[in-house]
């Protein structure tokens, strides 16, 4: 088998690998994308596609808000099947404690130039008539978006191909070596790719530091107008972003088709991708608590996906401490669809030696000591 030569070999064609291939190819580098399955499969096919600005930390805010700006630049270019929707996010507060969180969140966003509007109980009910009565209020973030990630990934890859990138699907990278300033990727079909840089965009399969965190989703038949925003409980912050072994949170999304996508769950330590009926039941009960009429909607399918979780909930973007030729682009947990574009921009700038629009340091894999990175 011959050795193909490229400036960059991107391993993994999820939304992150697709964005990387696109960004490197836009920089005029030759790119070889290697995907074991199909482009836009993996977690990217399982996720909700909520493009959201998050405020768990300054670094998370920086990457999510920067990435969302990049998505908005593509707004008019994205084809219809990406189902780009301007629905915004409605964070709902169940009680006064969560209302205090609404206020904190509003201030955080406003100070940083993100529009956010506090809604009282009546306004929340008007915004989402299917929410149960008696909620305390909410925070409307109108700038958040929703996309259908598999088609977004396919579109990014098409653009990369138009820019000269080569794409191989159905082929797995079985090993990567680095010596004498060049990296070598060996493929499952015996082929090899020699590249100056190897991007590891394998998501939850990435060997470095990430732990798979399983999630469930369910989708209904079409009920146009049933829900208007991505609606998320604020308890989400306490439950889902905590590090419990198992948690569920109310999180629903209107699909362009009129379907309602219902999430979500988080589970560590599960390798099995089958739907867990008990956790699915718990997740749906949570949804029904917030939107009682969800109980009557017909569910056509439930599925699972794996997020790539890191110890500090920030992604790994930059050279691997074990092998500088390998650039990591993983660890995006529940935000990788949002942060794919920002991740790709940071890596492309790193390779080009350009000053990035936001500092890369918080995401550099070297923030963890080398011995924590397992092989």
């Amino acid at each position: 088998m011959s050795v193909r030569i490229a400036d960059v070999a991107v391993v993994g064609g999820g939304i992150v690998g697709a964005a990387c291939a696109d960004a490197f190819s836009a920089d005029g580098l030759s790119v070889e994308l290697i995907e074991a399955g199909i482009v836009g499969g993996g977690a990217s096919a399982a996720g909700m596609g909520h493009l959201t600005v998050m405020d768990d930390s300054e670094a998370q805010f920086a990457l999510t808000s920067f990435s969302l700006r990049l998505w908005k630049r593509l707004e008019t270019a994205l084809p219809a099947e990406v189902e780009y929707s301007r629905c915004g996010t409605l964070w709902v507060a169940a009680d006064d404690e969560e209302m205090a969180e609404v206020e904190r969140k509003r201030q955080f966003y406003t100070l940083r130039g993100v529009t956010a509007e506090t809604l009282d109980a009546r306004q929340v009910a008007e915004a989402e008539p299917n929410l149960r009565p008696g909620l305390a209020g909410g925070l409307l973030v109108p700038g958040d978006r929703v996309i259908y990630a598999p088609c977004a990934a396919a579109w990014l890859v098409k653009r990369a191909i138009a820019g000269g990138a080569r794409v191989r699907t159905g082929v797995r990278a079985v090993s990567t070596d680095a010596s004498m300033g060049a990296g070598m990727v060996t493929l499952s079909d015996g082929g090899r790719v020699s590249a100056k840089h190897i991007v590891d965009a394998t998501g939850a399969a990435s060997p470095d530091l990430v732990r798979p965190r399983k999630g469930h989703l369910a989708i209904t038949d079409r009920y146009a107008g049933f829900v208007r925003h991505q609606v998320v409980e604020l308890g989400y912050l306490k439950s889902a972003h905590g590090h419990d072994i198992e948690s569920v949170a109310f999180n629903v999304q209107p699909r362009a088709t009129g379907q309602v996508l219902i999430g979500s769950s988080r589970q560590y330590g599960i390798g099995d991708s089958r739907v867990d009926a008990h956790l699915l039941a718990r997740m749906l009960r949570r949804a029904v608590e917030y939107m009682p009429r969800i109980a009557t909607l017909s569910v056509v399918r439930a599925w699972t996906g794996f997020r790539a979780a890191t110890p500090d909930s920030l992604p790994l973007i930059g050279p691997s401490p074990r092998n500088g030729q390998v650039l990591l682009a993983t660890g995006h947990e529940g935000l990788g669809i949002t942060t794919s574009l920002g991740t790709a921009r940071l890596l492309a700038d790193w390779v080009a030696g350009r000053k990035p629009p936001i500092p890369i340091e918080p995401y550099l894999p070297t923030r963890f000591p080398a011995e924590v990175h397992r092989g």
Partner: protein, 407 residues
Amino acid sequence: MKDSLAFEIVVVGAGPAGLAAACTASERARSVAIVDDNPAPGGQIWRGEARTPWIERARSSPVQLLTETQVVASPGEPALLAARGDRPVEIRYEKLILATGARERFLPFPGWTRPNVLGAGGLQALVKGGMPIAGKRVIVAGSGPLLLAVAAYLRRQGAKIAMVAEQASRGAVLKFARTVARSPSKLMQTLGLMRDLAGVPYRTGCWPVEAAQGEVKFRRGGRTWSEPCDYLACGFGLVPNTELAALLGCTSQDGFVAVDSRQQTTQPGVYCAGEPTGIGGAGLAIVEGRIAGYSATGRPDEARRLFAERDRGNRFRIKLQEAFRLRPELAALARPETIVCRCEDVSFGRIAEHRGWQAIKMQTRCGMGPCQARICGPAVDFLLGIPADSVRPPIFPVPAGLLAEDL
């Protein structure tokens, strides 16, 4: 709280295979239940008939009949989750027999989604359910003996059958007819149908190429012409219902559930009988059901005594399959703009851009609607040779509230 039931043997499907399995198992088992989503037992062939011997036998046996109960998921343990109306029922088992039958195969051709084009079995079921058909001009088209059964039934209900169009060649059909005549009971059945269909043109090597309002274009021997009709009833053979078996992790082979000589699937304690293991008619379904019933209750010798009968059924199955194999011309009827996935309105042209089922599904939404690829999956497989191989719960749409209840 969910209702929870437990039985030693649970049979899913109350068609010939399921009834035979349950009756056989009940001779020995402590408790047996048959679960079926229809209001009455009988499956496809005995739908709406109260007095067939196996139904009567089941009714007079200790078998518990759980009708209007649809199995939608398997919560993990040896248990099924079923829907009864909007209520969940958990059904636990020690041994499980899957007898989920088959459904019709639809092939996309221009106009196949028009309201005057229906499934042959589907139209039969509608008429059994009270739809008026008397005086209507109906053409029955597609492939297989089912077309004759449906045409005969519709005619008895007063329909005017303008033609039965069989895509298989005259030679293949005649060869098959000689095979059938070798078994007296099958001959009787066929003669009965022939009497019912006297005077109805039965055209072999003939198939629909385009349906329009009030007329359908047919092709035969290089000639294309239009036939006026009120309804076109189509059926291009049957597709096994293997979703539940797949959800339980049973291996399949060439699209059918793989079983050993005892009708056991690759999952220990899970048996399968009838059409999911091969399309061979009610006779084969019954003998497989009985073997599964004996095997599941630890009676291998009784099971073995039926192997020869099953072998005969299997020879018939293979002849059926050979005679009515779909001709490649049928795969060339769909145009780029012809809809393949009706739930999500996906055209053939968009589907043909992709190479695997996951890519087709993810990139075009084909198979993502309420039917979950039951209709378009087999069509894509026939048109492009790409099997639709992903099954996720629930296997039938159910209210979220039903899935939300815990034990």
